[in-house]
């Protein structure tokens, strides 16, 4: 690749210009055109409201998981191992798809048999477009947020909806006041 800054000819596949150290990855990024796009591209996951995730140990049974979901009023539990690392997610959808009407006496069965193992996740420093991409392309309703493999928050589709509508409303108001 020929460096756009100093015209040095680099080997194909170089990430940084060998002459002027200009990083090339930036040239491929799209250019945000308004406040909403800018925010989606540059704001990090930690700017969203952090929900402390509801976690449950790997040894728990379905009955315990259901009780925890009802008492904490959430739709998804993060399943963690003894060190606190995320190993799976157990949501209302798992309950619907794999358990109700198919298994008898499911309350005693282990959660590891029914959870979705190794869910897609993001880290706190990822930008919001990664969250949206995972949610929209993967069809997930909940995306766990990890820090060093340990869950620190969870983002739901409704959180993203709230964030985007607030942003577009603010942008709309600003646009109306300037024009």
């Amino acid at each position: 690749m020929i460096c756009p800054s100093c015209c040095h000819k680099n080997l194909p596949g170089d990430e940084v210009c060998r002459h002027c150290k200009q990083p090339f990855a930036l040239f491929d990024l799209p250019h945000p055109e308004n406040q909403v796009e800018r925010s989606v591209m540059y704001d990090q996951v930690k700017t969203l409201k952090q929900h402390p995730p509801v976690t449950i140990g790997e040894k728990a049974s379905i009955g315990e998981a259901m009780a925890l979901m009802t008492s904490s009023n959430v739709g998804a539990l993060l399943v963690v191992d003894a060190e606190g690392n995320l190993t799976g997610i157990f949501s209302e959808r798992d309950l619907l798809k794999k358990i109700v009407g198919l298994e008898n006496g499911f309350a005693k069965l282990p959660i590891t048999q029914f959870m979705t193992p190794r869910p897609e996740s993001v880290s706190t420093t990822d930008t919001l477009n990664f969250v949206l991409q995972k949610m929209d392309a993967g069809g997930y309703r909940h995306v766990p947020v990890l820090e060093n493999g340990k869950p620190v928050s969870i983002i739901s589709a409704r959180d993203m909806l709230r964030f985007l509508t607030r942003l577009s409303k603010e942008a709309g108001e600003r646009g109306a006041s300037t024009s």
């Binding site: 591209m41 109700v100 930008t127 477009n129 909806l161 577009s168 942008a171």
Partner: protein, 154 residues
């Protein structure tokens, strides 16, 4: 494309709400669960002579059936949410979003004269919002790390 203006101006019908799944009043919960599982959706509408009388979602399944220890043969009207908040196809998208956020709902029935014609989910709305800035969301590498650890190739 101005997102704020589109939200106000465009109607719910522009989102092409998905076809509603319908169970009749008096059917057992098991029927609803089977239907939801087959169609891979999280909510069914409960109707009586084609008029909507309630909504039954995954959350109801967990809270009102399983947590209470009811059998799956319970008639659906005992554990549905009666008279759900609904939208008309001509309502604006921002109006639908406002209802969802106010009530904390994940699904809104789309209704004309008490007859259900569709279901609007929060995922569909997120998808609609994402369509307004496709390059920001769809043109992304699989990892958030901008650099490869080493050069590709042999």
């Amino acid at each position: 494309m101005d997102l704020a203006r589109n939200l106000k101006g465009e109607t719910v019908s522009r989102l092409y709400p998905s076809q509603p799944l319908i169970v009749q009043r008096g059917q057992p919960v098991a029927d609803a669960v089977k239907l939801m599982r087959e169609k891979k959706v999280g909510c069914v509408l409960v109707c009586e002579q084609r008029r909507i009388v309630g909504i039954f979602t995954e959350r109801d399944l967990l809270r009102r059936v399983l947590a209470q220890g009811l059998p799956v043969t319970t008639p659906i009207e005992e554990c549905m949410t009666p008279d759900p908040v609904s939208v008309h196809p001509k309502d604006s998208i921002s109006c639908a979003i406002r209802y969802m956020q106010k009530g904390g709902y994940r699904h809104l029935p789309v209704v004309i004269d008490d007859k259900p014609v569709g279901i609007l989910s929060v995922k569909r709305i997120v998808h609609y919002l994402v369509e307004h800035f496709p390059t920001m969301v769809y043109n992304l590498p699989p990892h958030s790390q901008p650099y490869q650890p080493k050069r590709e190739g042999a």
